[in-house]
Symmetry: D2
Subunit: 277 residues, 4 copies
């Protein structure tokens, strides 16, 4: 049960979205106002690690992750103040599966790709082995942590993410659902993911046997104004997608429907149906 | 704005109080139900470090501290499961002054003494220099962090804590109040401290220009039962003092009055008036 | 390329062996005088994490591990000063495979068992998948890190470590050798392990296609005297086994032969041939 | 006993100097070939923290520091691969005074200034109080750690570093020497510092009662070639100053004399005598 934001457009300093707004991702890490409950438990804290992944001039993206709370993190504050990026992901973690360790923090990176995830799957402890066996053997040694999220990412790569992201995600979800329903036909899968190759930004919203996680998009340059006293603007022709609407929602934000695959390229947001069945 | 517990009596495993109860100190570190607001801000998380200090067979106490959240901390869980102690302090931190670093975590240790503190003083940044100048020069090099709490502890040692704890604390508070009121006569001092030499356990509850922090004591062996499903007993003839009553209060707990100095020795709890003026 | 010690006998404070001697394990973590070179590289630092595992009164052992250097670690110093144990393992890590993370630090724990390892296997990245597939499916979810050592431990458990340690280790080594030699018949396996159920202490020394790691044993109560100015004694009727002889070797230490399986029980040290073929 | 590098010139990626060369600063953190001994002790490891401070487009510099070894640090590797800077400092720490904590890591930052230091002063524990009392009271609350280096930095700021760096450093050194010699006329002061406002780069080399630390400068674009197999060039018209000559020295490097104050501005290196007496 994590939180994330994803941005693509004109280069901005990361602090514009990650640390500065009064209801920024980092502020949300301490107390949020949505998604408080999952199976009756209070989940108001995302203190189990954080990460930022950003594209700048290098072939591969930058990645800064730590297994500490995002709040009061001087390195994170400082870095977000310095780093500009045209396309970046940022994530705060509340563990559902997997220990508190850097290897379990998002975003995950592979070559020029970044991936981050909010959600969960039932019985991951039991399903980890059969799911990881489906990962391409040459990718298996790259597994560093113990999360469902990293497993989903390497499955998607195994199924062709680099060539056809939507088809690879469809195959990944279908394979995961098959393994899950073989084990427990009432099992839950819930995915709200963002990923990118540095050129296009993609998100997936899909749930099975449970109400879906939220996902919101905006390319209104005033979409942050209600969250920050200094009324920041994001550049025109830029797009933000968030797992939660930075705590408050206004008509500047559009809810992305469940069972959808979204592609953002040059400020054009295309949302398609994800799975037909 | 931290939380702490202190125990003295028959040796118990630390997990009995620190990690096992459903409303244990560690559970409280994630969401508490009291003291939510100080100057209007939500303070529901104590994720800025933790510490345990315990007396066993050695001349000096054990001390395990880290600048991480207490929740999901495998080392802390494991240690509390192994370590038995007749007298121990445990603390979770929500920073008011001082960075997130181990040197700012409680309890603080000096020779055979341990000290932990919940509270704050106005303008500590401004008062740090005049207050630290009053610390005995030979103790000054021992300052490792940047907190008001560590400063109060070394001031008290400078004023004779090892020989006469109550008199030293009185002098410490009077000196601090003088420095504070010289700077701002409306300034606030709020102290809820626990400290020990391994033989006696002491606590102080004192506030100036503000409602005092809470402090509760129990030597009822059933005092934990409402907090834990497995209805743990603490040994007979043992005493617990807590900064918050493990979230819920029952008649097994006694509120310690403000402006009081408490001494626990061989299960006898003596609460005296602290400052007369 | 790590270092470890293992002790069983009369309870001692851990600092006697881990932190106090002038050539203690912690001192060795900064500069060692043996095993400097493996494939031509200088390996004088074991700064990639440490761990101690000890048996006291609980059913399961204590375990304190961190992914930091052992030197200057106040928590480790403090803990080793407080904790007494009749049987304990201690380890400092220099990474060969696996990231710097707590989950890759030794000793590894399972129920009442502890396991630590010095050594390596060729091509572990490539062999990780086929080796981990041989782990019992119900144990697979317990894998937390990415080391060969943890893989060997869970393989041994899968093959009956809890019931017959020697037979389980034999089967583990045979299976590993088969996977290895299928991939590269010149591949290297080198194992110097210590493990315990809290009652008996076991070590294994085995190498394939390479000169074996060292392993030394002593139950001479003066065996530490040449390493520490204050001439500490270990209790009579106690046994120490070390991966390196605390830097210097004297006739108080016995070299354990290669291809051997050692059992220590009530101060009796039995060394048997490990694999016949 | 630390190590540092400082660069100013055409923007380069930090990895060019910090992490990539075969004898880069990070490689040096594991085993160095100079300055092995200070007062007879082996000092081959700089594993007590690291930091990089860099100037890019913001008014204040970026700063990334951690109290971990620099080697195997994925965040540091990654950041140095992404970040470009025209002027930067980088430091690896081997503690002489001050605990292992981020607040004791270099570079230290104040407004647009960065400062890093290699060296030591005798009896710092004893001198810390009288030295810190000389820091301007309004700067005192900014002290975060316990090092001589941070104390020297805030003393220099107190004496006008921002307006006249050389005069401020002269006054700082004179005041420190006075406090030191009052306490012990045979006491040692050894300073090899680099500092910058983002426009000019300064270094100081000064020692008292001891052989000075080394300091080397180069603006030869081939000065790195002997340290890295891929023969990197630094841009023409750029300057590097290092506390140790990246392990090997060639005629492309010039030794900076003791008792000197160096200013680098637009690739012009000016070295002046520091103290006349």
């Amino acid at each position: 049960m994590c939180r994330w934001i994803a941005y693509t457009g004109k280069p901005v300093y990361l602090d514009t979205l990650v640390t500065k707004p009064d209801h920024s991702l980092v502020v949300q890490s301490r107390h949020s106002q949505m998604n408080y409950t999952t199976s009756g438990e209070l989940l108001s804290i995302n203190g189990d690690g954080f990460g930022i992944g950003w594209y700048d001039k290098r072939d591969t993206p930058g990645l800064f992750k730590d297994d500490l709370p995002a709040w009061h993190n001087t390195n994170l504050d400082n870095l977000c103040h310095q780093v500009q990026s045209h396309t970046f992901l940022a994530h705060i973690r509340a563990t559902t599966t997997g220990d508190i360790q850097r290897a379990n923090c998002h975003p995950f990176g592979y070559k020029n790709w970044l991936f981050q995830h909010n959600g969960h799957i039932s019985h991951f402890d039991k399903l980890r082995r059969p799911l990881q066996l489906k990962i391409a053997p040459e990718l298996f040694p790259l597994l560093q942590g113990t999360t469902d999220s990293e497993t989903f990412f390497y499955l998607a790569i195994s199924y062709g993410l680099l060539d056809n992201p939507k088809a690879a995600m469809q195959k990944m979800v279908r394979e995961v659902l098959q393994v899950l329903s073989n084990f427990d036909k009432d099992g839950v899968l819930n995915l709200s993911c963002a990923f990118s190759d540095g050129r296009k930004l993609y998100t997936l919203r899909y749930s099975y046997n449970e109400a879906p996680m939220t996902q919101f998009v905006s390319n209104d340059s005033g979409c942050l104004q209600e969250f920050a006293e200094d009324k920041p603007q994001i550049p025109a022709a830029s797009t933000i997608i968030v797992s939660e609407p930075l705590d408050n929602i206004s008509d500047k934000w559009t809810k992305i429907p469940n069972n959808s695959f979204t592609t953002v390229f040059r400020n054009e947001v295309t949302t398609e149906r994800f799975l037909d069945d």
